[in-house]
């Protein structure tokens, strides 16, 4: 199969709210897909259906040949899918009862059955890469938001997933901490791993994305290279969204 991630006609409703109305997307290995859109457009939900944290109602997800059909699947298939993906959360969601090192090791030890000593060594290496060498034995509550998020990224990276899902990774951060996390994500992108990123950071999207997807109302409105979508969007809805976002930035700086 030439695609790393195949999202096929995904529908998802929460009660009467039809959040995803048939979203399809094929993503090649090494692509960095940035999903943009106003709040309520379904972009976070789409991301969460990819690893079945929210189970889709219709459609199917395939990650590196692990296929899960929304209407007919087993728990084992979902587990298999999750083992091929990793996720970085808006609120970090680090395990509060574990140190940073234990957080990163946890998946290796309990899911992948690595020896503890090996897992520890690998985790330390990853933590060094995201700049947390000094913080191995700190608990999440003792770290800043930026440090916690970098630990969250390390926890995702260590599993060597086929695709990493970033769910608004900088939205909960203090403005001065956004940069360090974005830099870490950029470094990850340069390793050639497949990434799907939901974010509001337009500048980041421009720099890192190989493809930008604009969603609104539960459908993909427009997608293409960042140079096209972010500079010369064809769809009026995309234009409105971008002018609102950049307008907001201008107002702030004025």
């Amino acid at each position: 199969m030439e695609y790393m991630v195949q999202i096929d006609h995904i529908h998802k409703s929460f009660g009467d709210n039809h959040v995803l109305q048939g979203v399809s997307m094929n993503i090649k290995k090494g692509e960095v897909v940035v999903i943009l859109g106003p709040s309520g457009s379904g972009k976070t939900t789409l991301l969460r259906t990819i690893n079945f944290l929210d189970a889709a109602d219709e459609g199917s997800i395939t990650v590196n040949e692990a296929r899960v059909d929304a209407q007919k699947h087993s728990k084992a298939q979902v587990l298999e899918l999750r083992k091929k993906t990793a996720m970085v959360f808006q609120n970090y969601n680090l395990f509060a009862n574990m140190t940073i090192l234990q957080n990163v090791m946890e998946g290796l030890v309990t899911v992948r059955k690595f020896k503890k000593s090996d897992a520890e060594k690998m985790s330390m290496e990853i933590l060094d890469k995201v700049g947390l060498s000094e913080k191995y034995h700190c608990y999440p509550s003792q770290l800043s938001g930026g440090q916690q998020q970098r630990a969250g990224i390390a926890r995702a990276l260590i599993l060597d997933p086929d695709v990493i899902l970033f769910d608004e990774p900088t939205s909960a951060l203090d403005p001065e901490l956004v940069g360090e996390v974005l830099n870490t994500i950029k470094a990850v992108a340069q390793t050639g791993i497949t990434m799907i990123v939901v974010t509001h950071e337009i500048a980041f999207a421009k720099e890192v994305a190989s493809r930008v997807v604009f969603m609104e109302g539960g459908v993909v409105v427009e997608e293409g290279k960042p140079g096209e979508i972010l500079v010369n969007p064809k769809e009026p809805r995309t234009q409105q969204f971008l002018s609102r976002i950049t307008g907001g930035i201008n107002q702030k700086s004025a």
Binding site: L53, R82, F89, N93, T99, A156
Partner: protein, 234 residues
């Protein structure tokens, strides 16, 4: 009548009463175990997705918390044999310990269930999603992530529940079990009530000392258990 108090004799009474401590301890430990197991089942039921089981669990908790322990003792000790006799089963020869342990186990299980439910709900569930995202199964996530945090949150309440349970073991005397209080009553009866005051002061002191020890133990455990991540629980 000549009242003469001999407070210097209190330590002697304490020693005599303490000979019944193993009985109290047995009641405490077995009913504690029952209440934890039953409480866990009821808590799981009340947190579950099946409406019928949720309703049954909530009803059980409501009833057990609403009924005085003494009433429940009488129900089991006096009422249950009557019903069972009607069914042709005779339980009047059963050990009296059974009734007091069953009562305290049932009664306390409701408090334990509420404690566990609250502690479970207090753990931030984003961590559960993170556990799933790294490929953990639900049971593994509960064992590794949710339970350890819920336990830390529950420790102070667990201490309270154990202290309450310990004090309620004194109701054992109502069915004729010779626990600490039963022993104290036996001592006063043997001297025709002449040393009532000293005996009951001695009994009170024993209960008090054990409760203080339990309280300190609970605080110590909480301190050790949540060390380094105290803020995480808040």
């Amino acid at each position: 009548m000549n009242y003469s108090y001999d407070f210097a004799s209190i330590p002697d009474y304490m020693i005599k009463i303490m000979t019944a401590f193993p009985v109290t301890l047995e009641i405490l430990l077995i009913s504690l175990l029952i209440s934890l197991l039953l409480g866990a089942a009821v808590a799981a039921g009340s947190l579950g997705r099946k409406p019928v089981i949720v309703a049954i669990s909530r009803g059980y908790i409501s009833f057990m918390r609403g009924i005085p322990t003494l009433v429940l003792i009488f129900l089991l000790y006096l009422g249950l044999p009557q019903i069972l006799q009607g069914c042709g089963v005779n339980i009047s020869s059963w050990n009296k310990m059974f009734f007091i342990i069953a009562t305290l186990g049932l009664n306390t299980s409701a408090n334990m269930a509420e404690m566990m439910r609250a502690a479970y709900l207090a753990v931030d569930k984003g961590q559960l999603e993170a556990a799933y995202s790294v490929g953990m199964k639900g049971t593994t996530a509960f064992r590794r992530i949710i339970y350890p945090q819920a336990f830390g949150i529950a420790i102070p309440m667990l201490g309270n529940n154990i202290i309450n349970l310990f004090k309620e073991t004194s109701l054992a005397f109502t069915v004729g079990v010779i626990d600490i209080l039963g022993k104290a009553r036996a001592i006063t009866s043997a001297s025709y009530g002449a040393n009532k005051l000293e005996t009951y002061i001695a009994t009170g002191i024993i209960f008090w000392i054990v409760c203080v020890a339990l309280e300190q133990g609970s605080k110590y455990l909480e301190g050790v258990y949540t060390k380094g991540r105290k803020q995480a629980a808040s």
